[in-house]
Point group: C2
Chain length 450, copies 2
């Protein structure tokens, strides 16, 4: 395939023409898991300070209150709801991951189309098709430029996510092929977000803004606002300007038979994916050890080098810093079996018992260890030594999170925000997505009273 293929136009044609029945059952089922996982994360993150601050600004400008902010009392216009829900769903670093690109796919796409669906009488089946189309579009575009694009410093969840939001919203709005091509172009020319923002509120702003901007791209295109029809592949378009790699077969190859949307994975732990093997292993050890956890003299981790590069913080001071400390994460998993958001609070990081164990954890990088694996050796005060190898962390494609685990993750996040009864109703509605006659009814269940 040459660079001059009509990449943008062909992708737009596919996104418009696809029927829900063209999507294999397994892919649709994965789409439902993607939705339920995202919904739980959006509720779970809704009471975060980042969301408070975004809402303080957004409330000044919101249009007609037609869309629910998940896990809050606010109703906003669709675009602002998309922004805020996108922030909520990513702010705990607990959402989903397309492992080939490190895109967190649902944030930009689901946030956009759930907000847009309200009041438009969209069925669950149509919503699910749009969700899958959006995820497919963003992950394929991500594949075409990854890793060069990411390595240069782009936060790919934002930069590729905006295309997914545009395509999915465009489906719901019934765009023509021409309009969908424009929507992808208007999305492209808003593609933005730096990895420099990691560790700040702007990290979760990226999927939120991608949702909002992608949705707006679709509405503009519907109104006849035009753009380049070669926004992805032109010499001065997305792939050439924002990446040194451009592989358009990743975008157009096997469209409708290879499903990137089926490769989504769900985080079992509320932190960067590289320390998941260590947490998984330490949780397993805890179950074996019981009270003997108290008698640990030292814990030795052997990990992929990236683990220390990204999460090598020895003495984290805040909950956020705790997410970048494999030592803290291992100690919390051994002591409390916890890798959920409560494992990464300021309180948890400052707990003297956790600190005492954390200080006994050491880690060695080994290029022979896969990113998805870890070797753990625990030595007790009496000199005994046991070891455990994790080949694939829970949540990986080889060991996917079960529906039951997704439920548990959902419930643990949601109950503190909207209570037990509403959590159960919302969770049930999430799993029943495909048979819902009106998706708008789902969001109302996530509201909290003012």
């Amino acid at each position: 395939m040459t660079e001059t293929a009509a990449v943008t136009k062909t992708l737009a044609q596919w996104a418009v023409g696809l029927k829900g029945s063209d999507i294999p059952e397994a892919v649709r089922a994965e789409g439902v898991r993607t939705f339920v996982n995202w919904l739980g994360c959006a509720v779970g993150g809704a009471s975060h300070e980042t969301v408070d601050r975004a809402l303080d600004a957004v409330r000044l400008f919101t249009g007609p209150a037609r869309a629910q902010v998940i896990g809050r009392a606010d109703r906003l216009d669709e675009l602002h709801a998309a922004l805020v829900n996108g922030i909520s769903s990513h702010v705990l670093d607990y959402d989903d991951t397309h492992l080939k690109t490190i895109i967190h796919p649902a944030g930009p796409v689901a946030s956009a189309i759930l907000a847009v669906s309200e009041g438009r009488g969209i069925s669950g089946a149509d919503f699910l098709t749009a969700l899958i189309v959006g995820v497919e579009v963003e992950c394929r575009i991500g594949n075409s430029v990854y890793p060069d694009h990411y390595d240069r410093g782009w936060h790919i969840t934002g930069t590729a996510g905006v295309f997914g939001a545009a395509a999915a919203t465009g489906r719901l709005l019934g765009l023509t092929e021409q309009q969908m091509t424009w929507a992808l172009g208007i999305a492209a020319t808003q593609s933005s977000g730096f990895r420099e923002m990691f560790g700040t509120m702007c990290k979760s702003f990226h999927p939120g803004r991608a949702a909002q901007n992608g949705a707006m791209a679709a509405f503009l295109a519907k109104a006849g606002f035009d753009s380049s029809e070669r926004a992805i592949e032109a010499p001065r378009g997305f792939a050439n300007v924002m990446s040194t790699k451009q592989d358009y077969t990743e975008i157009l190859g096997e469209l409708g038979t290879r499903w990137e949307a089926a490769l989504n994975s769900y985080k079992p732990f509320a932190c960067g994916i590289v320390i998941h093997p260590a947490i998984d292993g330490c949780q397993q050890l805890r179950e074996q050890l019981g009270d003997r956890v108290e008698a640990i003299a030292k814990v030795e981790l052997t990990t992929h080098p990236l683990v220390l590069e990204l999460t090598g913080k020895k003495t984290p001071k805040t909950g956020l810093e705790g997410k970048f400390s494999v030592y803290h994460a291992a100690a919390m998993a051994l002591l409390h079996g916890d890798g959920s958001p409560t494992a990464f609070t300021d309180e948890a990081v400052r707990d003297p018992k956790v600190i005492a164990l954390r200080d006994r954890v050491s880690a060695t990088a080994d290029t022979g260890i896969h990113e998805d694996a870890v070797k753990i050796a625990v030595t007790f005060n009496d000199g005994e030594r046991i070891t455990l190898d994790v080949a694939h962390a829970v949540g990986s494609l080889e060991k996917p999170l079960s529906n039951a685990a997704i439920n548990e993750k959902f419930v643990r996040q949601s109950i503190p925000v909207i209570g037990e009864a509403a959590t159960q109703r919302l969770l049930d509605a999430g799993w029943a997505l495909e048979t819902a006659s009106d998706v708008g009814a789902i969001t109302a269940m996530s509201a909290v009273s003012a």
Copy 2:
């Protein structure tokens, strides 16, 4: 200066700390010219189809109607008004130019702060200071990465403009240094817009969106939404991710003594700046020739090579294409003395008389000719030949547009949109900016009845 200097923070401190009285009188005077020129362009572009289509989408989502859309009946929330006014002011390619970077400075900045000023009781003097701060910030950031950034394919008016809009809006909102640093960071991580969009509606979307996004960055920062404090200079920040050149002395050097805002220029003609010398020269010839224009056998232009590269279209079919045809532009200037938007309509381009003369225009590239210059030789049917050399086109820094010419440009654009009386009131109010007690009063004058 090393890359590790606190570029973003230092720039934020300057933007917050500057007093209006620190700005030299000549720079303030240039700021007023910048404002008046921008205001006329925003009125002139307001009835363009691009604006109609943007408004069709925007009206669905607008918040409280607190800000006037210039030259229209609509009132929108401040951010959406900033978007639409930014589109209007750029859509005719008739606005202002910082020649060192080809940034069109006023669009992102003035569109943001005029909308935000309404209802906030902002004085003209404070508005002017904010305008100058915003223009200074965007042009300095532009200088730091130009030309590499532009050559890569970024539409610098959008990518640098968002910083200017954030800084100027931040001034009006009274941000602290910390908040201004965040605002620049939130702006940075939204920096976007491809040159691929030239020739489509997205070109003018870029300054509009930069105005809207930059303003939102300031409101978010005021609400405590944080970002990286090194968004411009970090290894994964703006300058490194979006450019191969990073010259931070352009941003921090001689702050407060070297004024990029004083280097703004105003287009006498509604098209790309490279064909301005040819139009200027042909207009001069027309004044000399009178009726003899009818007897021209051929017109030979000798131009900088860029003129043919960018505007070498021999047979334009639409008004927009006419902007990319030095042949059409020369013919219109010789026949009608016109380089205003009316010279670039579909009608003008299809006029048989214009086409007949256009076909007799030829152009030769010569690397010895400055970008700002042209040599013209006219041969008549009787064999006589006259020549004219333009060393610097009107509108250049060497031959700046006079206030009278800015007035004429304003009036020609504004009267067809808001009528003669309103045009005169608005123009007077523009020039009186510095003594206005409330800038909000100015925008009301630009409204048309529904």
